[in-house]
């Protein structure tokens, strides 16, 4: 019974997917996305993600077959807009609590490497 788990939709999926529509990502594209996300990936991870992301995006492509020309997007489901708070002070974390978990705190501040010397910044 266990070997059937999850297999059922694969059959359906493969009938949906035509090879020419498959999303394929190059290693360079994956590297570009990793840079946007500030993730250091190994060569093995770049190769693995190229395959897996292509596979998942091919599956996700189904949404593109739907006519949504007259459909507004739903970024959130709540019927609330402009939730405002009164402009008054509240109790908050102390300075020492705020920096207590920092790997490199100094005199109540977070210490970072200088940003403006960074050619990648």
């Amino acid at each position: 019974m266990g070997q059937d788990h999850g297999a059922f939709l694969w059959t359906k999926l493969s009938s949906l997917s035509h090879e020419e529509d498959d999303v394929k990502l190059t290693r360079e594209e994956v590297q570009h996305v990793a840079e946007l996300a500030k993730l250091q990936l190994s060569d093995a991870e770049l190769d693995e993600f190229a395959g897996q992301l292509g596979q998942i995006l091919t599956y996700a492509q189904q949404v593109q077959s739907v006519d949504t020309s007259a459909v507004p997007p739903t970024p959130r489901v709540l019927p609330l807009t402009n939730v405002l708070a009164d402009d008054e002070s509240h109790e908050c974390l102390s300075n020492s609590q705020a920096v207590n978990n920092a790997p490199d705190a100094d005199d109540g501040y977070f210490r970072v490497i200088a940003v403006f010397d960074d050619p990648g910044a």
């Binding site: 788990h5 939709l9 993730l39 599956y59 940003v115």
Partner: protein
């Protein structure tokens, strides 16, 4: 001890309401109960790994205080009742890692509102439960600290991402627990572990202090042994919170009052799209038997259509990964957590995040970043939000006609550890029946409705409209009381 023959039930078998009654009647003390839970954890958690850490000293101290308070007339609803908390929820002074190595050693300076409300009602925190890293997963195998095992079969997953909480409750390590549900992460592990999991409507429970995954989808919910306990805990954690502008400004209803056992005339919708080829036959059979049972209790069974069902998973994965890629940008090695030195500030970020995040988290950040990136935003992210509207409209139409929508919680019972680890797409397909509720902001509950031939629990899902918790709880309670599934316990 835990077998059915013993007429005297072990203390750890109690749920929340039963614990409250026993404490109030003086049958046992909070110290008795808390020590029994800690002993049970000591006895079985080596095999299960439901907990990432426990706080035995603090818990027993709090229990002793609760017993003294009760002697002085304190009668708060959760006074002296020990609970387990999923590790994505911040607990003041107790290490909180979200199951990730990137947060190893992080000790929050405040508690999540939901946790704070439990404590204000008198509850005791036993410990923090295992989860897929940042709640990203359906099996708890993606934890940075090793998987949790299913109490019904140690070779199988407990479901996820709240697998630690579900396993802890099913194994009588805690009377109840909190989990979180972004695409099914309370309901599916409850189904896999044979207990009750309630996902409240979006906006019902404050997300303040919940380490964010998909902010438009995340909700905190109770994982319990009974429907009545789920109602009781939701009443306590629900409500508007000035710290979370996405909480609904509505009063919390008297949910326990909905538990009448009476469902005559309620209209229960059965979506034909949820009974597709490929559901494990024993799951389908158990759910169909449950439908007959609910009909025999006087409810009306109504066939309905949710035509956009097939699109829910692709929409979910585009929306949730996009939101996750933004939410997880905060883990930079500067303010908390792991920090790996680099030559420049950006190298510092890259190195820290590359070393601290596990494979599934990286995969989801990458997918979300791709879907939000220039050139792909309209085709993937915006398109997904438009199709999300269609999914929501399916349910709006359905709930104009029926009170509750009924389906299996998951297409299968618990799968084997390792079975889907190398196949991310097969893993996400286990969420097929649960993600729609998050996309549409609905409430949902999973309750036990049988066992397969391997003795693994099967879950029944009841979905209700936004803020319709009374309807699903009423139906769930009536069904639960007319069956005996909840009485069967795993042997450990």
């Amino acid at each position: 001890m835990m077998g059915g023959q013993n007429s005297k039930k072990p203390l750890t078998s109690v749920g929340v309401a039963e614990a409250h009654a026993g404490l109030a009647a003086g049958q046992f003390t909070s110290v008795d109960l808390t020590r029994a839970c800690l002993d049970q954890i000591e006895r079985v958690d080596g095999a299960l790994h439901a907990f990432l850490r426990t706080s035995p000293t603090d818990a027993l101290e709090a229990a002793a205080m609760a017993d003294r308070a009760r002697a002085d007339g304190d009668a708060r609803p959760l006074l002296g009742i020990p609970l387990a908390i999923k590790d994505v929820l911040m607990t003041n002074g107790i290490e909180t890692t979200a199951g990730s190595r990137i947060l190893e050693g992080f000790v929050p300076p405040y508690s999540a509102t939901a946790v704070q409300k439990l404590k204000a009602a008198g509850a005791i925190i036993l410990g923090k439960t295992n989860t897929d890293e940042f709640a990203m997963g359906s099996s708890t195998e993606n934890s940075g600290y090793g998987p949790t095992r299913n109490p019904w079969d140690l070779e199988r997953v407990p479901g996820g991402s709240s697998g630690g909480s579900a396993a802890a409750v099913a194994a009588d390590e805690a009377p109840a627990a909190l989990g979180t549900d972004t695409g099914g992460s309370v309901r599916q592990p409850a189904a896999f572990c044979g207990i009750v999991g309630l996902k409240p409507s979006y906006g019902r429970v404050s997300r303040y202090g919940l380490i964010a995954y998909g902010s438009s989808l995340d909700q905190i919910g109770p994982i319990t042994k009974t429907v009545a306990d789920a109602a009781l805990l939701l009443e306590i954690i629900a409500g508007v919170d000035p710290q979370d502008s996405t909480t609904m400004p509505v009063d919390v209803p008297d949910l326990s009052a909905a538990l009448t056992g009476e469902i005559t005339g309620m209209r229960i919708g059965i979506p034909k799209e949820y009974f597709v080829e490929g559901i494990q036959p024993e799951v389908e059979a158990a759910v169909r038997t449950a439908i007959e049972q609910i009909a025999s209790l006087g409810a009306e069974i109504v066939p309905i259509n949710l035509p956009n069902t097939e699109l829910a998973l692709p929409v979910y994965y585009l929306v949730v990964t996009a939101e996750a890629s933004a939410n997880l940008a905060r883990f930079d090695g500067i303010r908390y957590g792991l920090s790996i030195d680099g030559d420049t500030i950006f190298d510092h970020f890259r190195q820290t995040r590359g070393a601290g995040f596990g494979p599934e988290v990286k995969r989801r950040i990458m997918l979300g970043t791709y879907a939000l990136s220039a050139g792909y935003y309209d085709a993937y992210y915006l398109k997904a939000q438009q199709v999300r509207t269609l999914i929501k409209q399916d349910f709006d139409r359905a709930f104009a006609d029926v009170d509750v929508v009924l389906s299996p919680t998951s297409p299968t019972t618990a799968f084997r550890i390792g079975e889907k680890v190398d196949d991310p797409l097969a893993m996400i397909l286990t969420d097929i029946f649960t993600t729609s509720a998050n996309l549409a902001g609905l409430c949902g509950i999973s309750i036990p409705c049988g066992f397969d031939s391997d003795g693994l629990p099967i879950g029944l899902q009841l979905l209700g409209p936004s803020l319709g918790e009374e309807k699903i709880l009423r139906t769930a309670y009536a069904y639960e009381q007319s069956t005996n599934w909840r009485l069967r316990r795993p042997e450990l």
